[in-house]
């Protein structure tokens, strides 16, 4: 009964059962810790979200928790459980020992990964998107920073900070017209007022993510947000057509070009895209992704090293 087995192990909603260890990630209002779930003596990740910093209301966070609990796919990060500790929400998730793709690029692959690794990573992420879209969810924040890797090469899509449910009418519709996410990864129609958000916006972000993995950064990433917004709307879509992109195959370039079409109706669905020839020959992620971690120190040391680097940079200015 494979499918029944998903709820097999249940994690308690008691903070004393978790021992927080090092910090492994941080964002505007959340910090992620490596932690031990004491009853199983198992390593997990605990995301601590400062709820008092989320102004207006908690509806979005409530919805995110509900959504995450109803999702079950090997390529989507699932919340084991979540509970309130003081003014924080603790979300217990599987620990992805190698962190995000963004993180890995910053530390060891500043100019991006090689094609076979990109292909495996993208294929796994696309399977996750296909599942989410099929169940009526829009991810709304697809980017290398939200693709997490485990030591065994498993790839999972994370963070539904801003995901919306397409089946719902009413209040959710409204929240779908608001400006959330990171401009570099946003589809042109999302940046323009009036037009709604649909799952094709995820496909654009997916294309941008492909460029990000190929180059080590998203196109326009060195510009300020307003400039990115204008460039996304006015310029021709970015692609893999620089000199340095000669190393990439024709089918990769073609796949990216299909995602980065300004007219969202002309973009393929996730389901269609999965059938593209680029993904036909994807190597199993266990092989091509695992290779990327060879000789790297463990994640928590890397986070510290990165923080030291950043601090040094700040000091220079």
């Amino acid at each position: 009964m494979g499918k029944l087995g998903t709820g097999q192990r249940s994690y308690s909603a008691n903070q004393n059962d978790y021992k927080l260890l090092e910090e492994v990630g941080y964002g505007a209002s959340a910090t992620v810790f490596r932690a031990i779930y004491l009853p199983f003596n198992e390593v997990v990740a605990v995301k601590c979200l400062d709820l008092d910093r989320c102004n207006s209301n908690l509806d979005d966070i409530r919805r995110e928790a509900q959504t995450m609990s109803l999702i079950d796919h090997p390529n989507v990060i699932r919340a084991f459980c979540s509970f309130v500790v003081d003014r924080n929400l603790w979300v217990v998730m599987p620990f992805m020992a190698e962190g995000s793709c963004l993180h890995l690029m910053k530390i060891a692959y500043q100019d991006g990964f090689e094609e076979s690794a990109i292909c495996s990573i993208l294929k796994e992420a696309l399977k996750a998107l296909e599942y989410l879209h099929r169940h009526g969810h829009i991810h709304r924040d697809v980017k290398a920073g939200n693709i997490l890797l485990d030591t065994n090469g498993v790839v999972k899509l994370a963070d539904f900070g801003v995901s919306a449910c397409m089946f719902d009418r009413g209040d959710r519709q409204r929240s779908r017209n608001t400006f959330v996410g990171t401009p570099c990864w946003m589809a042109p129609e999302v940046l323009q007022p009036g037009s709604g958000y649909d799952f094709k916006a995820d496909i654009w972000s997916f294309g941008i993510t492909a460029l990000e993995l190929a180059h080590g950064h998203a196109p326009f990433s060195k510009y300020p947000p307003m400039k990115v917004l204008l460039m996304t709307i006015q310029n021709a879509p970015p692609g893999l057509d620089y000199d340095r992109d000669k190393r990439f195959s024709k089918s990769f370039k073609e796949m990216v070009a299909m995602c980065l079409v300004k007219d969202q109706t002309k973009r393929p669905t996730a389901e269609k895209l999965l059938k593209h020839s680029f993904f036909k020959h994807a190597k199993p992620a266990e092989l091509s992704v695992k290779k990327l971690f060879a000789d790297l120190p463990p994640l928590w040391n890397r986070v510290k090293a990165l923080q030291v680097c950043l601090a040094r940079l700040l000091f220079l200015y």
């Binding site: 499918k3 249940s10 928790a65 509900q66 109803l70 459980c81 979540s82």
Partner: protein, 344 residues
């Protein structure tokens, strides 16, 4: 040799409902205790649910046949399959539950002639609504049942039933459950119950004023930050609805409520302080403040003024309005504190 049993033609709605019913009845007590038999029976249910979903909502490319949808809806009610769905739901696998939730909302809104026959069915079998409510106690199915319950209470008759039912009281427990996803779902339902059907809510609050606010007080004074913050926000949402104005007038005339709101204005969370202010201002602005409300305001006026001076709306567009309101409230408190005849 499965090709022998492959269906040669698509099932009619009647046949499909019969197949669904048979497969659900197959989940009897004898089957459920036997791993292999249960697995097989569940597979059958799952297969039928996929077909049902296809018939009710199409596959994304082909639109559903509305005649089939109507026939199916009628048949499901006639054969008591709606009740079976709920009673067997705890046994289903993950995907079957999700498929059922998906179909549930379509079935409920289906009109045959002029009536929604599934809504009618639920009205006549209201114990099923209570069943859905108590499912919040079962973590594994709480969210599925919560979704189905919220679909039900979109219909005023069903919402009214739950408000009046003894199981409504359970929500005060569920919204504070330790698991955030379950508590959140329960809160969404609780909020819908108190905000979606204004007249039903107003009637309910009028008839059960004392019990309701006694329970609600526990939410406002909960040790759980989220419970406090959400219940406070919700309070202002339904209290300030025009059909509830008589409830609001009664509420703001009572000292015990004022005391709770004043405590919340001192909460360590800024968000809670501000939400509390938006209710507190109604107590103060009330032109017909009872004497004991005035006494409390006068007695505490120094601390209140200090608190108000320190309160700012933070970043936001309604900053000016907030400051303006604050100033009015401060003036009114000062005025009340100087009234001569409050000492006694």
């Amino acid at each position: 040799m499965s090709f022998f049993f492959k269906p040669s033609r698509p099932k009619t709605p009647q046949e499909l409902v019969k197949a669904i019913k048979d497969s659900l009845m197959g989940l009897d007590t004898k089957t459920v205790v036997e791993v292999k038999a249960l697995e097989k029976a569940l597979e059958e249910v799952e297969k039928n649910f996929v077909t049902m979903k296809l018939m009710l909502s199409g596959d994304g490319e082909v639109e559903p046949n509305m005649d089939h949808v109507s026939q199916m809806t009628l048949e499901i009610c006639k054969e008591d399959v709606l009740a079976l769905f709920l009673h067997k739901l705890p046994i289903f696998g993950w995907e079957a539950r999700k498929d059922l939730v998906h179909c549930w909302s379509i079935l409920l809104k289906q009109k045959v002639g002029s009536t929604c026959c599934c809504v009618r069915y639920m009205e006549n079998h209201s114990e099923l609504l209570d069943f859905l409510v108590v499912c919040y106690d079962n973590k594994d199915i709480a969210l599925n049942c919560g979704n189905m319950l919220r679909e039900c209470i979109k219909y005023p008759t069903l919402a009214k039933y739950i408000l009046e039912s003894p199981s409504f009281e359970l929500f005060f427990k569920y919204v504070g459950l330790p698991n955030f996803d379950v508590a959140s779902d329960a809160f969404s339902t609780f909020k819908d119950l108190l905000t979606k059907h204004a007249t039903a809510v107003s009637e309910f609050l009028t008839a059960h004023y004392d019990e309701f606010f006694e329970q609600y007080e526990k939410l406002l004074t909960s040790t759980n930050y989220v419970t406090r913050r959400q219940s406070l926000k919700l309070l202002s949402e339904f209290l300030l609805e025009p059909p509830n104005s008589h409830i609001m007038k009664r509420y703001i005339a009572e000292v015990r409520h004022l005391k709770i709101i004043m405590t919340l204005m001192k909460d360590s969370s800024k968000n809670i302080q501000i939400s509390a202010f938006h209710i507190f201002k109604v107590f103060v602005a009330n032109p017909n403040k009872p004497r004991d409300i005035k006494v409390i305001l006068a007695k505490n006026h120094e601390r209140l003024l200090a608190l108000l001076y320190n309160l700012s709306a933070g970043k936001g567009a309604d900053d000016d309005q907030f400051e303006e309101e604050k100033e009015l409230i401060i003036k009114e408190i000062e005025r009340v504190s100087q009234l001569p005849n409050l000492e006694s």
